[in-house]
Amino acid sequence: AGCGDDEGDGSTEAVEELGELEGEVSILAWPGYVEDGSNDPNVDWVTPFEEETGCEVTSKVYGTSDEALNLAKSGDYDVIAASGDLSLRLIASDEAQAINTDLVPNYENVYDFLKDTEWNTVDGENYGVPHGYGANLLMYNKSAYDTPPTSWSAVFDPAEMEGVKGKVTAYDSPIYIADAALYLMNTQPDLGIENPYALDEDQLAAAVEVLKTQREYIGEYWSDYLKEISAFETGDSVVGTTWQVIVNNIKNKDVEAILPDEGATAWNDTWMLSSQAEHPNCAYKWMDYIISPEGNAAATMYFGEAPNSDEACQVSPEAEEHCKLFNAGDEEFSDKLWYWRTPIKECLDGRTDVECTDYAQWTEAWTEIKG
């Protein structure tokens, strides 16, 4: 079947070939993923795409994965940049359609360890192409410590937090429960946590307990980076989770970030095609463009995450520099990362004897933790 005539029915069959370009495409993405120079004339990778394909881009940004799901449901968007905690929810709610990676030539460059992962592939069907990835690092202000922390215990162990009480920060989303679970995985093996996104009720309760304790030491939670940057810049916060891009933007020399020994939670974003896409052909063009070395390098460098291919790392000396900083392609580094997934009842770690807690429960728990 040609593309574009069966939109909206939630078909999961990937198309065979591309049809005529529609002349426009509507994109839903994290801030900084779709820059057309309107905010800064020097930051623009959309215009070349538009010139090349004739597909006029409109875009909307979202603040959290949860907000994105809501927006995606409106059906206003053809392509969606989804983190791992969102992608499965989009698929489950029939908001995403399977794609044909053959129609995305640049797909072949993508690091293998990003392909066919649980958050972009279901039952062997690809639901998108990988964009970039990054870790939720541990950031701290050296001046607050005699010996700089090396473990997540810096933000979970009361003894360690005592010295920085009121200056600890954490990411403001239910998905942050996974960070606590990861910590428990290492500190309380008895709980039997195998995957921080697959928690049964007891395991969740344990994580919640850790977080409730942590709550006493929290100065503020963050979800937008300006807040996080300013807090570390001024010293309102001295330790907490962060993204590499935030570290890069902090001028305070005492602030640095590490990947702790336990590893970390992380995200890997996927460009997905909406099941309601009205401009699927332009959408395919966009997906191909944004994972192309040039497009991908530009976007991931601007946002501050690792690009999805070595080719992207080689487009310029700056890109090479960038890739080093972000450990791009470093599988060893990547192995330490637990990419965001959507917790569901069916345990992601393969357990069948228990039911796991789903995202709704996590959300409720998060409300409770914050109190």
Binding site: D66, G219, E220
Partner: protein, 292 residues
């Protein structure tokens, strides 16, 4: 009367006041009912449904009181409600306390010329974006921020981020909305009443307490509707300067906009709705609703 023949519509309208009234009311009422009341009612209905957590689809087939149970049984909601109402009340009290003397000075003491300028001065901050102002307060209250920077000599410490910061920032942002109705209300209190009170032996303070305040009550309440309701629903300021705290607005926002649990969001939203309706019902008799 040749004139009359040219105005069939005017004549008709004159003859049938009910027609005139109907024509006047039809559009605005239809708007308010169709756009707003229906939407609110639908929201109320939603509160009895539930959401599938993975797909985010609303399950409309089963009606249940689960959301209400969550709301009433989970301590968190009670705490957040109390916290939010407390913050809103504090903001309102502070705003009224600040607005009264300012408005009094503007309306009863300043020269007409100064009055104009004061009104402009009070209004101008409204145009600086709400978000920008909230962030400016972040800079004011931060560690080593303006408060500590300027107050350093005096040993003044910033309260830091948290509920006091939320209260200060919200009080700041909504202050003009409270000053204006109170100022307008004061202008409507005839000077002769104040004079009569003084004449009968009341000191100025006494005259203000026994005459001005009671007469001003509707205007004050009109102002409090703004500050109270705007604070009651806010979730942005608390994110910016509220430290680790959350308010009702955050819960509604997180469930509706983020967690995609509209039924629960609708249920939580009923809390501020009920609070405001009760408040409106109480103040309705004072005539405040005509002073907004």
């Amino acid at each position: 009367m040749e004139r009359s023949d040219r105005r069939p519509v005017s004549r008709l309208l004159h003859r049938w006041p009910a027609v005139r009234l109907t024509l006047l009311l039809a559009t605005p009422l239809a708007w308010l009912l169709l756009v707003y009341v229906v939407a609110l009612a639908a929201l109320l209905v939603t509160a009895f449904w539930s959401t599938d957590s993975l797909s985010g689809e609303i399950d409309k087939s089963t009606w249940s009181l689960d959301n209400f149970r969550t709301l009433f049984e989970n301590e968190v909601y009670r705490n957040v409600t109390l916290r939010t109402v407390g913050v809103a009340a504090a903001v309102t009290v502070i705003d009224v306390a600040i607005a009264l003397p300012i408005a009094f000075y503007m309306a009863k003491m300043a020269s007409p010329r100064a009055r104009r300028w004061l009104v402009v001065a009070v209004l101008t901050p409204l145009w600086a974006s709400y978000l920008v102002k909230a962030f400016a307060w972040r800079a004011v209250l931060s560690e080593g921020g303006l408060v500590e920077w300027a107050g350093g000599v005096l040993g003044i410490e910033s309260p830091g981020y948290g509920l006091p910061a939320v209260i200060m920032t919200q009080a700041y942002i909504w202050l003009p909305y409270v000053i204006l109705p109170i100022y307008a209300g004061l202008e409507r209190v005839p000077n002769s009443l104040l004079e009569a009170a003084g004449d009968l032996g009341a000191s100025n303070g006494r005259a203000v307490r026994t005459i001005v305040l009671p007469l001003l009550l509707p205007a004050i309440i009109a102002g409090t509707i703004f500050s109270f309701s705007l604070t009651l629903g806010d979730y942005i300021t608390v994110n910016i300067v509220g430290g680790a705290n959350q308010m009702l607005g955050n819960l509604v926002y997180v469930n509706a906009g983020a967690a995609n649990n509209l039924p629960l969001a609708a249920t939580i939203a009923l809390v501020p709705i009920v609070i405001m309706l009760v408040y409106l019902a109480i103040v309705r008799r004072t005539g405040a609703l005509e002073n907004l």
